[in-house]
Amino acid sequence: MPAMRRAMIPLARRRSGGGTVYHDLGNLNLTFFASKKAYDRQRNLKVVTEALRRVCPELDVQATDRFDILLKGHHKISGTASRLSRKSSYHHCTLLHSADRSALSSLLRPSCTGIQSNATPSVPSPVANLTDHAPSLQWEELLEALVQQYNSEFGLTSALTPVSPSDESLFPGVGNMEAELRSWEWTFGKTPKFRVETQLELRDEQLAAGCSAYLHMEVKNGLVESCRMDIPANWLPLRLSSTLSEVLLGERFCPHRAAAALTVFLRSESGQLHRRLCNLCEVLLAVMG
């Protein structure tokens, strides 16, 4: 999260579940809309693999039974997620053409170790860009091949048509949907309950002293449900550590919100205590990302 904030990369949560994806203009997102009856992920992925084989016959691409597409049997170039509704469905997948690989790996690395929850564990895979193995594959060439293969597979004759996804006249209600999808309540407020258990390294620069403390926090629906800090009493009086814990209760597990709540609290002390409290707050905010 801190790396994302620094790079000003927005975060969105999708309605189709699954793991985290890094998107930039080198990562193609394909969405296949169909009726629920016609929902067939393997058939859609066949469109992708066949298209790739046509433009680059030497490419070894294969869809797996987990609906990933692998290059040379072990580099993941595509992952899948989907959603079923009453009568319709969508299946979307990524396709790594020329994404920024170093941004991808640094942004998908968890910044907070010590998180425990019942969430399905993420299965990281080694990834590759198509252009790593087929450097001459142009973006437009890829799009054209996909359109041709899609038409061929489904017996259609549609041309590639650019659309603006924010066009309210084409997609009535899309503005409201976007607002909802950007909201904190949707993005973070549905987070499954998780625990943070980690050691905090506290520092008093003026005295060149330090100590270790222990943080135990439970977060439910993105809000701090419980917070316990075991800080040596000779570093900070117990009343201060426990009051600080109380200040965080019910706040969003978010450094901005926490910082705002803590600012008022910090004003109440001065001197050595103030210095150490500031350091503690900094370390806490770093845990929150």
Binding site: R15, S16, G17, G18, Y39, R66, A81, S82, R83, L84, S85, R86, S89, H91, N118, A119, T120, K190, P192, K193
Partner: protein
């Protein structure tokens, strides 16, 4: 009255395989089926329509003391595959019949859940957060999804009862 009607339905289900049972035998057959984990089709609250009802979206609702418990049917959980995450609404959320109230994520997809009735969510099954597989293992009991008030009881009467739902499933499989 509800008991007799349900027993009639039960004997219709059983008749291809068993000879006609006497009334007393029918009652004990029902009790046996309920205890063996068969969907609880009966509950003896006075004056309430309490048989298990089904929607075309494969949700079931069971009413007890004016509160409807909602879940998905065996057919639905089999079609879904292993559920790994349950996205459920907030307590207090008001739902119209057919409103999307959440989604169940499985290997297959994130599948939407539709409210069988109009009412307000009074409880959500918090066990599912740590154990989403309950939806597969015990779809009619421990894998319940939400409880809600029944604002329009007439909606309940329009839902399918067990035999109608079984017939509906057969028609889908053809």
């Amino acid at each position: 009255m509800a008991m007799r009607a349900a027993l009639r339905c039960l004997s219709v289900n059983l008749s291809p395989r068993l000879p006609q049972l006497s009334s007393a035998a029918q009652v004990s057959a029902t009790r046996l089926l309920c205890r063996s984990g068969f969907p609880r089709t009966l509950s003896t609250d006075s004056g309430q329509c309490t048989a298990l009802k089904f929607t075309e979206k494969h949700e079931w609702v069971l009413v007890e003391s004016g509160i409807g418990t909602v879940g998905i049917s065996k057919y639905a959980q089999e079609a879904l595959g292993d559920v790994v995450y349950c996205g459920l609404p907030e307590v207090g959320q008001r739902l119209e019949q057919m409103d999307e109230f959440g989604a169940l994520e499985s290997v297959k997809a994130a599948s939407e859940l539709y409210s069988p009735l109009t009412g307000e969510v009074t409880a959500i099954n918090t066990e599912l957060a740590g154990n989403p597989g309950l939806v597969n293992k015990s779809c009619y009991a421990d894998g319940w999804l939400i409880k809600m008030t029944i604002e329009k009881p007439e909606e309940l009467h329009k839902l399918m009862d067990q035999p109608a739902y079984d017939k509906f499933i057969k028609s889908l499989e053809e």
